[in-house]
Protein backbone atom coordinates (compact mmCIF):
# COMPACT_ATOMS: atom_id res chain seq x y z
CA UNK A 1 0.00 0.00 0.00
CA UNK A 2 2.60 2.54 1.10
CA UNK A 3 4.70 1.32 -1.80
CA UNK A 4 1.91 2.12 -4.25
CA UNK A 5 1.76 5.68 -2.99
CA UNK A 6 5.53 5.92 -3.30
CA UNK A 7 5.29 4.63 -6.84
CA UNK A 8 2.69 7.31 -7.65
CA UNK A 9 4.83 10.06 -6.16
CA UNK A 10 7.91 8.76 -7.92
CA UNK A 11 6.03 8.46 -11.15
CA UNK A 12 5.31 12.19 -11.24
CA UNK A 13 8.92 12.94 -10.42
CA UNK A 14 10.31 10.52 -13.00
CA UNK A 15 7.92 11.65 -15.74
CA UNK A 16 8.90 15.27 -15.07
CA UNK A 17 12.57 14.37 -15.36
CA UNK A 18 12.02 12.35 -18.53
CA UNK A 19 10.22 15.22 -20.19
CA UNK A 20 13.46 17.18 -19.75
CA UNK A 21 15.34 14.30 -21.35
CA UNK A 22 16.93 13.14 -18.08
CA UNK A 23 16.71 9.81 -16.29
CA UNK A 24 16.79 9.63 -12.47
CA UNK A 25 20.35 8.24 -12.54
CA UNK A 26 21.51 10.65 -15.24
CA UNK A 27 21.67 8.09 -18.04
CA UNK A 28 20.57 8.70 -21.62
CA UNK A 29 17.36 6.93 -22.65
CA UNK A 30 19.34 4.47 -24.80
CA UNK A 31 22.18 3.93 -22.33
CA UNK A 32 22.75 0.66 -20.49
CA UNK A 33 24.05 0.63 -16.91
CA UNK A 34 27.63 -0.48 -16.24
CA UNK A 35 27.99 -4.21 -16.73
CA UNK A 36 30.42 -6.54 -15.03
CA UNK A 37 30.60 -10.23 -15.79
CA UNK A 38 32.58 -12.69 -13.72
CA UNK A 39 32.67 -16.22 -15.07
CA UNK A 40 33.65 -19.45 -13.28
CA UNK A 41 32.28 -17.89 -10.13
CA UNK A 42 30.94 -21.09 -8.55
CA UNK A 43 33.28 -24.07 -8.33
CA UNK A 44 30.54 -26.62 -7.76
CA UNK A 45 28.71 -25.64 -10.97
CA UNK A 46 29.61 -26.90 -14.44
CA UNK A 47 29.54 -23.31 -15.62
CA UNK A 48 28.64 -20.10 -13.86
CA UNK A 49 28.59 -16.35 -14.04
CA UNK A 50 27.91 -13.48 -11.73
CA UNK A 51 26.47 -10.50 -13.54
CA UNK A 52 26.14 -7.02 -12.16
CA UNK A 53 24.05 -4.67 -14.21
CA UNK A 54 24.06 -1.45 -12.26
CA UNK A 55 22.85 -2.50 -8.81
CA UNK A 56 21.16 -5.62 -10.08
CA UNK A 57 23.19 -8.66 -9.17
CA UNK A 58 22.47 -12.19 -10.36
CA UNK A 59 24.32 -15.49 -10.23
CA UNK A 60 23.69 -18.06 -12.92
CA UNK A 61 24.82 -21.66 -12.58
CA UNK A 62 24.77 -24.50 -15.10
CA UNK A 63 24.41 -28.04 -13.77
CA UNK A 64 24.42 -31.16 -15.93
CA UNK A 65 22.76 -34.49 -15.27
CA UNK A 66 22.33 -37.65 -17.30
CA UNK A 67 18.68 -38.43 -17.98
CA UNK A 68 16.13 -39.57 -20.51
CA UNK A 69 15.28 -37.41 -23.57
CA UNK A 70 11.75 -36.30 -24.38
CA UNK A 71 9.99 -38.81 -26.61
CA UNK A 72 9.60 -36.29 -29.45
CA UNK A 73 13.26 -35.21 -29.39
CA UNK A 74 15.21 -38.46 -28.84
CA UNK A 75 18.46 -37.03 -30.26
CA UNK A 76 18.78 -33.82 -28.29
CA UNK A 77 19.64 -32.83 -24.78
CA UNK A 78 17.13 -31.20 -22.47
CA UNK A 79 17.22 -27.59 -21.28
CA UNK A 80 15.50 -26.59 -18.02
CA UNK A 81 15.58 -23.01 -16.81
CA UNK A 82 14.57 -21.82 -13.38
CA UNK A 83 14.74 -18.42 -11.70
CA UNK A 84 14.75 -17.89 -7.95
CA UNK A 85 13.73 -14.46 -6.76
CA UNK A 86 14.88 -14.94 -3.18
CA UNK A 87 13.81 -12.65 -0.31
CA UNK A 88 17.41 -11.50 0.11
CA UNK A 89 17.22 -9.58 -3.15
CA UNK A 90 14.20 -7.40 -2.47
CA UNK A 91 11.52 -6.70 0.12
CA UNK A 92 8.95 -7.66 -2.51
CA UNK A 93 10.29 -11.19 -3.09
CA UNK A 94 8.95 -14.06 -1.01
CA UNK A 95 10.23 -17.57 -0.50
CA UNK A 96 8.15 -20.50 -1.60
CA UNK A 97 7.08 -21.91 -4.94
CA UNK A 98 7.88 -19.73 -7.98
CA UNK A 99 5.36 -16.94 -8.57
CA UNK A 100 4.26 -15.75 -12.02
CA UNK A 101 6.99 -13.10 -12.07
CA UNK A 102 9.85 -15.55 -11.65
CA UNK A 103 8.21 -18.00 -14.03
CA UNK A 104 8.01 -15.29 -16.68
CA UNK A 105 11.69 -14.37 -16.21
CA UNK A 106 12.77 -18.01 -16.40
CA UNK A 107 10.67 -18.65 -19.47
CA UNK A 108 11.84 -15.54 -21.32
CA UNK A 109 15.51 -16.35 -20.59
CA UNK A 110 14.86 -19.95 -21.61
CA UNK A 111 13.16 -18.84 -24.84
CA UNK A 112 16.19 -16.75 -25.86
CA UNK A 113 18.68 -19.55 -25.21
CA UNK A 114 16.46 -22.25 -26.73
CA UNK A 115 15.12 -20.43 -29.80
CA UNK A 116 18.51 -18.80 -30.42
CA UNK A 117 20.07 -22.30 -30.41
CA UNK A 118 22.81 -21.01 -28.09
CA UNK A 119 23.86 -24.60 -27.43
CA UNK A 120 23.99 -27.33 -30.07
CA UNK A 121 21.67 -29.64 -28.17
CA UNK A 122 22.30 -32.54 -30.57
CA UNK A 123 25.83 -32.74 -29.14
CA UNK A 124 24.29 -33.37 -25.72
CA UNK A 125 22.88 -36.70 -26.83
CA UNK A 126 24.62 -39.74 -25.30
CA UNK A 127 22.50 -42.59 -26.67
CA UNK A 128 19.58 -41.65 -28.95
CA UNK A 129 16.23 -42.22 -27.30
CA UNK A 130 17.85 -43.47 -24.09
CA UNK A 131 20.33 -41.11 -22.52
CA UNK A 132 20.99 -37.43 -22.99
CA UNK A 133 22.43 -34.58 -20.96
CA UNK A 134 19.88 -32.59 -19.00
CA UNK A 135 21.10 -29.03 -18.70
CA UNK A 136 19.82 -27.04 -15.75
CA UNK A 137 20.13 -23.29 -16.00
CA UNK A 138 19.50 -21.88 -12.54
CA UNK A 139 19.29 -18.17 -11.94
CA UNK A 140 19.72 -16.81 -8.44
CA UNK A 141 18.86 -13.16 -7.98
CA UNK A 142 20.75 -11.72 -5.00
CA UNK A 143 20.23 -7.98 -5.44
CA UNK A 144 17.36 -6.46 -7.35
CA UNK A 145 17.43 -3.10 -9.04
CA UNK A 146 15.36 -3.83 -12.11
CA UNK A 147 15.86 -5.49 -15.49
CA UNK A 148 16.29 -9.07 -14.38
CA UNK A 149 15.50 -10.22 -17.91
CA UNK A 150 18.74 -8.88 -19.37
CA UNK A 151 20.95 -9.59 -16.35
CA UNK A 152 19.78 -13.21 -16.38
CA UNK A 153 20.14 -13.52 -20.16
CA UNK A 154 23.71 -12.20 -20.03
CA UNK A 155 24.48 -14.48 -17.08
CA UNK A 156 23.06 -17.51 -18.87
CA UNK A 157 25.12 -16.84 -22.00
CA UNK A 158 28.29 -16.25 -20.01
CA UNK A 159 27.79 -19.32 -17.82
CA UNK A 160 27.17 -21.54 -20.84
CA UNK A 161 30.27 -20.23 -22.64
CA UNK A 162 32.49 -21.35 -19.77
CA UNK A 163 30.67 -24.57 -18.92
CA UNK A 164 32.29 -27.98 -19.17
CA UNK A 165 30.15 -31.09 -19.55
CA UNK A 166 31.23 -33.43 -16.70
CA UNK A 167 31.22 -36.62 -18.74
CA UNK A 168 34.03 -38.24 -16.80
CA UNK A 169 32.25 -37.89 -13.46
CA UNK A 170 29.16 -39.50 -14.94
CA UNK A 171 31.18 -42.33 -16.52
CA UNK A 172 30.35 -41.14 -20.04
CA UNK A 173 33.82 -40.58 -21.50
CA UNK A 174 35.98 -37.48 -21.40
CA UNK A 175 34.83 -34.05 -20.26
CA UNK A 176 34.13 -31.64 -23.12
CA UNK A 177 33.34 -27.94 -23.37
CA UNK A 178 29.69 -26.96 -23.68
CA UNK A 179 28.90 -26.93 -27.43
CA UNK A 180 27.95 -23.25 -27.57
CA UNK A 181 27.28 -22.02 -31.12
CA UNK A 182 25.30 -18.77 -30.76
CA UNK A 183 24.99 -15.89 -28.31
CA UNK A 184 21.38 -14.62 -28.23
CA UNK A 185 21.42 -11.31 -26.35
CA UNK A 186 18.27 -9.73 -24.99
CA UNK A 187 17.54 -6.07 -24.51
CA UNK A 188 14.69 -4.87 -22.35
CA UNK A 189 13.11 -1.45 -22.66
CA UNK A 190 10.20 0.11 -20.81
CA UNK A 191 7.72 2.71 -21.88
CA UNK A 192 6.90 5.50 -19.45
CA UNK A 193 4.40 7.90 -20.97
CA UNK A 194 5.77 8.46 -24.46
CA UNK A 195 9.37 7.70 -23.53
CA UNK A 196 11.24 4.48 -24.26
CA UNK A 197 14.09 3.69 -21.86
CA UNK A 198 16.50 0.78 -22.07
CA UNK A 199 17.75 -1.25 -19.12
CA UNK A 200 15.26 0.12 -16.56
CA UNK A 201 16.05 0.36 -12.85
CA UNK A 202 13.62 -0.89 -10.23
CA UNK A 203 12.15 2.61 -9.81
CA UNK A 204 11.70 3.00 -13.56
CA UNK A 205 10.16 -0.47 -13.84
CA UNK A 206 7.75 0.27 -11.04
CA UNK A 207 6.28 3.28 -12.81
CA UNK A 208 6.54 1.84 -16.33
CA UNK A 209 3.45 1.36 -18.47
CA UNK A 210 4.79 -1.45 -20.63
CA UNK A 211 7.92 -3.52 -21.06
CA UNK A 212 9.42 -5.19 -24.11
CA UNK A 213 12.28 -7.70 -24.26
CA UNK A 214 13.83 -8.40 -27.68
CA UNK A 215 16.44 -11.12 -28.13
CA UNK A 216 18.73 -10.95 -31.15
CA UNK A 217 21.39 -13.22 -32.65
CA UNK A 218 24.81 -12.26 -33.97
CA UNK A 219 23.46 -12.35 -37.57
CA UNK A 220 20.87 -9.72 -36.66
CA UNK A 221 17.90 -12.09 -36.67
CA UNK A 222 15.27 -12.04 -33.94
CA UNK A 223 14.81 -15.19 -31.88
CA UNK A 224 12.57 -14.22 -28.96
CA UNK A 225 10.36 -11.42 -27.77
CA UNK A 226 8.13 -10.75 -24.79
CA UNK A 227 5.90 -7.84 -23.99
CA UNK A 228 4.92 -7.34 -20.35
CA UNK A 229 2.94 -5.07 -18.01
CA UNK A 230 -0.48 -3.52 -18.54
CA UNK A 231 0.45 -0.79 -21.01
CA UNK A 232 0.78 -1.02 -24.76
CA UNK A 233 3.16 -0.37 -27.64
CA UNK A 234 2.53 0.95 -31.12
CA UNK A 235 4.18 -0.94 -33.98
CA UNK A 236 6.71 1.89 -34.56
CA UNK A 237 7.74 1.69 -30.90
CA UNK A 238 8.27 -2.06 -31.24
CA UNK A 239 10.56 -1.42 -34.23
CA UNK A 240 12.45 1.18 -32.22
CA UNK A 241 13.14 -1.34 -29.45
CA UNK A 242 14.30 -3.86 -32.09
CA UNK A 243 16.77 -1.21 -33.37
CA UNK A 244 18.02 -0.54 -29.85
CA UNK A 245 18.41 -4.26 -29.20
CA UNK A 246 20.45 -4.69 -32.37
CA UNK A 247 22.69 -1.77 -31.50
CA UNK A 248 23.24 -2.37 -27.79
CA UNK A 249 23.25 -6.16 -28.02
CA UNK A 250 26.37 -6.24 -30.18
CA UNK A 251 28.36 -4.49 -27.46
CA UNK A 252 27.14 -6.85 -24.76
CA UNK A 253 27.91 -9.86 -26.96
CA UNK A 254 31.51 -8.73 -27.38
CA UNK A 255 31.89 -8.75 -23.59
CA UNK A 256 30.87 -12.39 -23.13
Amino acid sequence: MSKDIMADLKRDHIVKLLSKGVRPDGRKFDERRPLTIQTNYIRSAEGSARVQLGDTDVIVGVKMMVGAPFADTPNTGVLTTNAELIPMASETFESGPPDPESIEIARVVDRGIREGHAVDMTKLCIEPGKEVWIMFLDVHVVDYDGNLFDACNIGANAALKTAVVPAKRAGKGEDFPMPVQHTPISLTAVKIGEHILVDPTHDEERVADARLTVTILENGNLCAMQKGLNGSFRADEVFKVIDLSTRLGADVRSRI
Binding site: D72, E104, E115, L217, N221, A224, N230, S232, R234
Partner: protein, 258 residues
Protein backbone atom coordinates in the same frame (compact mmCIF):
# COMPACT_ATOMS: atom_id res chain seq x y z
CA UNK B 1 7.48 -23.31 -29.30
CA UNK B 2 10.05 -23.40 -32.00
CA UNK B 3 10.44 -25.80 -34.81
CA UNK B 4 12.03 -29.12 -35.51
CA UNK B 5 13.12 -30.22 -38.96
CA UNK B 6 10.58 -32.32 -40.79
CA UNK B 7 9.83 -34.02 -44.09
CA UNK B 8 6.26 -32.70 -44.04
CA UNK B 9 5.71 -30.25 -46.87
CA UNK B 10 4.21 -27.22 -45.16
CA UNK B 11 3.70 -25.23 -48.36
CA UNK B 12 3.05 -26.85 -51.75
CA UNK B 13 4.12 -25.78 -55.25
CA UNK B 14 1.03 -23.56 -55.61
CA UNK B 15 1.83 -21.67 -52.43
CA UNK B 16 -0.99 -23.41 -50.55
CA UNK B 17 -0.53 -24.48 -46.96
CA UNK B 18 -1.06 -27.92 -45.50
CA UNK B 19 -4.75 -27.19 -44.85
CA UNK B 20 -5.19 -25.47 -48.22
CA UNK B 21 -4.93 -21.91 -46.94
CA UNK B 22 -2.98 -19.09 -48.57
CA UNK B 23 -0.15 -17.54 -46.49
CA UNK B 24 -2.28 -14.60 -45.31
CA UNK B 25 -5.49 -16.55 -44.70
CA UNK B 26 -7.12 -17.07 -41.32
CA UNK B 27 -8.57 -20.39 -40.23
CA UNK B 28 -12.37 -20.41 -39.95
CA UNK B 29 -13.34 -18.49 -36.80
CA UNK B 30 -16.66 -18.70 -34.99
CA UNK B 31 -17.47 -16.76 -31.84
CA UNK B 32 -20.53 -17.00 -29.67
CA UNK B 33 -21.21 -14.78 -26.66
CA UNK B 34 -23.18 -15.78 -23.56
CA UNK B 35 -22.85 -19.54 -23.77
CA UNK B 36 -22.79 -20.30 -20.03
CA UNK B 37 -25.61 -19.74 -17.54
CA UNK B 38 -23.90 -19.32 -14.18
CA UNK B 39 -21.05 -17.03 -15.17
CA UNK B 40 -21.58 -13.26 -15.34
CA UNK B 41 -20.31 -13.32 -18.89
CA UNK B 42 -19.02 -15.98 -21.24
CA UNK B 43 -17.92 -16.74 -24.77
CA UNK B 44 -17.10 -19.72 -26.93
CA UNK B 45 -14.51 -19.58 -29.68
CA UNK B 46 -13.98 -22.17 -32.37
CA UNK B 47 -10.88 -21.26 -34.32
CA UNK B 48 -9.77 -23.90 -36.78
CA UNK B 49 -9.67 -27.00 -34.61
CA UNK B 50 -9.31 -25.00 -31.38
CA UNK B 51 -12.26 -24.99 -29.02
CA UNK B 52 -12.02 -22.51 -26.20
CA UNK B 53 -14.47 -21.35 -23.54
CA UNK B 54 -14.10 -18.19 -21.50
CA UNK B 55 -16.10 -17.22 -18.41
CA UNK B 56 -16.06 -14.03 -16.37
CA UNK B 57 -17.04 -13.68 -12.73
CA UNK B 58 -17.13 -10.27 -11.14
CA UNK B 59 -16.43 -7.63 -10.26
CA UNK B 60 -16.46 -9.49 -6.94
CA UNK B 61 -14.49 -9.62 -3.72
CA UNK B 62 -10.83 -10.17 -4.40
CA UNK B 63 -9.20 -13.37 -3.17
CA UNK B 64 -6.57 -13.61 -1.85
CA UNK B 65 -7.36 -10.51 0.19
CA UNK B 66 -3.76 -9.33 0.34
CA UNK B 67 -3.79 -9.04 -3.43
CA UNK B 68 -6.52 -6.38 -3.30
CA UNK B 69 -5.69 -3.02 -4.78
CA UNK B 70 -7.41 -0.14 -2.95
CA UNK B 71 -7.34 1.98 -6.10
CA UNK B 72 -8.60 -0.43 -8.76
CA UNK B 73 -9.88 -3.89 -9.61
CA UNK B 74 -7.56 -6.73 -10.49
CA UNK B 75 -8.17 -8.60 -13.71
CA UNK B 76 -7.11 -12.15 -12.89
CA UNK B 77 -6.99 -14.54 -15.78
CA UNK B 78 -6.68 -18.29 -15.36
CA UNK B 79 -5.74 -20.10 -18.56
CA UNK B 80 -6.16 -23.85 -18.33
CA UNK B 81 -5.95 -26.74 -20.77
CA UNK B 82 -8.18 -29.77 -20.34
CA UNK B 83 -6.33 -33.07 -19.94
CA UNK B 84 -7.97 -34.35 -23.12
CA UNK B 85 -7.32 -31.22 -25.20
CA UNK B 86 -4.03 -32.47 -26.68
CA UNK B 87 -2.79 -35.73 -28.21
CA UNK B 88 -0.63 -36.73 -25.25
CA UNK B 89 -2.74 -36.27 -22.13
CA UNK B 90 -1.87 -33.05 -20.35
CA UNK B 91 -1.34 -33.39 -16.62
CA UNK B 92 -4.16 -31.41 -15.03
CA UNK B 93 -3.42 -28.24 -13.11
CA UNK B 94 -1.36 -25.15 -13.76
CA UNK B 95 2.09 -25.58 -15.28
CA UNK B 96 4.66 -22.91 -16.04
CA UNK B 97 3.42 -22.35 -19.56
CA UNK B 98 -0.16 -21.81 -18.46
CA UNK B 99 0.93 -19.49 -15.65
CA UNK B 100 2.89 -17.36 -18.07
CA UNK B 101 -0.02 -17.21 -20.50
CA UNK B 102 -2.39 -16.32 -17.64
CA UNK B 103 -0.10 -13.47 -16.67
CA UNK B 104 0.27 -11.91 -20.11
CA UNK B 105 -3.46 -12.28 -20.89
CA UNK B 106 -4.32 -10.65 -17.53
CA UNK B 107 -2.05 -7.75 -18.47
CA UNK B 108 -3.55 -7.41 -21.94
CA UNK B 109 -7.11 -7.35 -20.57
CA UNK B 110 -6.25 -4.98 -17.71
CA UNK B 111 -5.25 -2.50 -20.39
CA UNK B 112 -8.80 -2.19 -21.74
CA UNK B 113 -10.90 -2.61 -18.56
CA UNK B 114 -11.82 0.51 -16.56
CA UNK B 115 -10.38 -1.09 -13.43
CA UNK B 116 -10.56 2.17 -11.46
CA UNK B 117 -14.38 1.81 -11.32
CA UNK B 118 -14.10 -1.16 -8.96
CA UNK B 119 -11.50 -0.58 -6.25
CA UNK B 120 -10.52 -3.66 -4.19
CA UNK B 121 -12.52 -5.95 -6.46
CA UNK B 122 -11.43 -8.80 -8.66
CA UNK B 123 -12.61 -9.56 -12.17
CA UNK B 124 -11.88 -13.24 -12.68
CA UNK B 125 -11.51 -14.55 -16.20
CA UNK B 126 -11.40 -18.30 -16.73
CA UNK B 127 -10.15 -19.62 -20.07
CA UNK B 128 -10.61 -23.34 -20.66
CA UNK B 129 -9.02 -24.87 -23.73
CA UNK B 130 -11.09 -27.96 -24.44
CA UNK B 131 -9.49 -28.77 -27.79
CA UNK B 132 -6.09 -27.41 -28.75
CA UNK B 133 -4.64 -27.00 -32.23
CA UNK B 134 -2.07 -24.18 -32.09
CA UNK B 135 -2.92 -20.60 -31.27
CA UNK B 136 -4.79 -21.26 -28.05
CA UNK B 137 -3.53 -18.14 -26.28
CA UNK B 138 -4.86 -15.98 -29.11
CA UNK B 139 -8.16 -17.86 -29.14
CA UNK B 140 -8.31 -17.56 -25.33
CA UNK B 141 -7.65 -13.83 -25.32
CA UNK B 142 -10.18 -13.30 -28.11
CA UNK B 143 -12.80 -15.29 -26.17
CA UNK B 144 -11.97 -13.59 -22.88
CA UNK B 145 -12.56 -10.07 -24.14
CA UNK B 146 -15.94 -11.07 -25.60
CA UNK B 147 -16.81 -12.69 -22.25
CA UNK B 148 -15.83 -9.48 -20.41
CA UNK B 149 -18.09 -7.43 -22.66
CA UNK B 150 -20.84 -10.01 -22.21
CA UNK B 151 -20.47 -9.62 -18.43
CA UNK B 152 -21.06 -5.88 -18.85
CA UNK B 153 -17.60 -4.94 -17.64
CA UNK B 154 -16.84 -1.36 -18.73
CA UNK B 155 -14.06 -1.47 -21.31
CA UNK B 156 -12.27 0.94 -23.63
CA UNK B 157 -12.46 -1.61 -26.42
CA UNK B 158 -12.22 -5.32 -27.12
CA UNK B 159 -8.82 -6.96 -27.45
CA UNK B 160 -8.52 -8.95 -30.65
CA UNK B 161 -5.76 -11.49 -31.03
CA UNK B 162 -4.05 -13.46 -33.76
CA UNK B 163 -0.61 -14.90 -34.46
CA UNK B 164 1.65 -14.74 -37.47
CA UNK B 165 4.80 -16.75 -38.01
CA UNK B 166 7.04 -18.47 -40.47
CA UNK B 167 7.04 -21.93 -41.97
CA UNK B 168 8.83 -23.33 -45.03
CA UNK B 169 10.68 -19.99 -45.26
CA UNK B 170 7.40 -18.13 -45.79
CA UNK B 171 5.79 -15.59 -43.48
CA UNK B 172 2.31 -16.90 -42.73
CA UNK B 173 -0.75 -15.94 -40.73
CA UNK B 174 -2.48 -17.91 -37.98
CA UNK B 175 -0.29 -21.01 -37.69
CA UNK B 176 -1.94 -24.42 -37.60
CA UNK B 177 -0.64 -27.29 -35.52
CA UNK B 178 1.85 -28.67 -38.04
CA UNK B 179 3.09 -25.18 -38.84
CA UNK B 180 3.52 -24.48 -35.13
CA UNK B 181 5.33 -27.77 -34.48
CA UNK B 182 7.52 -27.78 -37.57
CA UNK B 183 7.60 -24.09 -38.46
CA UNK B 184 10.35 -21.56 -37.88
CA UNK B 185 8.73 -18.79 -35.83
CA UNK B 186 5.59 -17.69 -34.04
CA UNK B 187 4.44 -14.15 -33.15
CA UNK B 188 1.27 -14.03 -31.03
CA UNK B 189 -0.25 -10.54 -30.95
CA UNK B 190 -3.03 -8.92 -28.91
CA UNK B 191 -4.31 -5.66 -30.38
CA UNK B 192 -6.74 -2.87 -29.48
CA UNK B 193 -8.07 -1.74 -32.88
CA UNK B 194 -9.74 1.48 -31.74
CA UNK B 195 -6.55 2.94 -30.27
CA UNK B 196 -4.03 1.09 -32.48
CA UNK B 197 -2.23 -0.37 -29.44
CA UNK B 198 -0.40 -3.67 -29.05
CA UNK B 199 -1.17 -5.13 -25.63
CA UNK B 200 0.17 -8.66 -26.03
CA UNK B 201 3.32 -9.47 -27.95
CA UNK B 202 5.59 -12.47 -27.94
CA UNK B 203 7.88 -14.08 -30.43
CA UNK B 204 9.96 -17.19 -30.67
CA UNK B 205 11.88 -18.81 -33.48
CA UNK B 206 14.13 -17.23 -36.09
CA UNK B 207 13.17 -14.21 -38.18
CA UNK B 208 14.97 -11.45 -40.00
CA UNK B 209 13.79 -7.98 -39.03
CA UNK B 210 12.01 -7.60 -42.39
CA UNK B 211 10.21 -10.91 -41.91
CA UNK B 212 9.23 -9.80 -38.45
CA UNK B 213 7.79 -6.53 -39.71
CA UNK B 214 5.83 -8.36 -42.38
CA UNK B 215 4.52 -10.89 -39.84
CA UNK B 216 3.50 -8.27 -37.32
CA UNK B 217 1.72 -6.29 -40.03
CA UNK B 218 -0.17 -9.42 -41.13
CA UNK B 219 -1.15 -10.24 -37.55
CA UNK B 220 -2.43 -6.71 -36.93
CA UNK B 221 -4.55 -6.79 -40.10
CA UNK B 222 -5.95 -10.17 -39.05
CA UNK B 223 -6.75 -8.80 -35.57
CA UNK B 224 -9.03 -6.26 -37.26
CA UNK B 225 -10.93 -9.12 -38.92
CA UNK B 226 -11.12 -11.02 -35.62
CA UNK B 227 -12.42 -7.82 -34.02
CA UNK B 228 -15.33 -7.65 -36.47
CA UNK B 229 -16.26 -11.25 -35.68
CA UNK B 230 -16.11 -10.47 -31.94
CA UNK B 231 -18.37 -7.46 -32.38
CA UNK B 232 -20.75 -9.47 -34.48
CA UNK B 233 -20.98 -12.13 -31.76
CA UNK B 234 -21.88 -9.47 -29.20
CA UNK B 235 -24.43 -7.87 -31.52
CA UNK B 236 -26.13 -11.23 -32.09
CA UNK B 237 -26.14 -11.91 -28.37
CA UNK B 238 -27.79 -8.63 -27.45
CA UNK B 239 -30.17 -8.67 -30.36
CA UNK B 240 -31.37 -12.07 -29.12
CA UNK B 241 -31.70 -10.71 -25.59
CA UNK B 242 -33.69 -7.68 -26.71
CA UNK B 243 -36.18 -9.81 -28.61
CA UNK B 244 -36.52 -12.40 -25.83
CA UNK B 245 -39.85 -12.20 -23.98
CA UNK B 246 -38.98 -10.83 -20.51
CA UNK B 247 -39.18 -13.69 -17.99
CA UNK B 248 -40.79 -11.81 -15.08
CA UNK B 249 -43.77 -10.01 -16.56
CA UNK B 250 -45.73 -12.78 -18.31
CA UNK B 251 -45.84 -14.78 -15.07
CA UNK B 252 -47.39 -11.83 -13.26
CA UNK B 253 -49.84 -11.22 -16.06
CA UNK B 254 -51.02 -14.79 -15.87
CA UNK B 255 -51.55 -14.56 -12.13
CA UNK B 256 -53.60 -11.41 -12.52
CA UNK B 257 -55.69 -12.99 -15.22
CA UNK B 258 -56.44 -16.09 -13.10
Amino acid sequence: MGGTPTDIKLIDANGRRIDGRMPDELRPLKIEAGVLKRADGSAYVEWGHNKVLAAVYGPRECHPRHAQDPTRALVQCHYNMAAFSVDDRKRPGPDRRSQEISKIISEALTNVVFTEYFPRASIDVYIEVIQANAGTRCAGLTAASVALADAGIPMRDLVASCAAGKAADTVILDLGKEEDNFGQADIPVGYVPRTDEIVLLQMDGDLTIDEYKKGLGMALEACKKVYEIQRDALRRRYHARATEVPAEEPVQAQQEGA
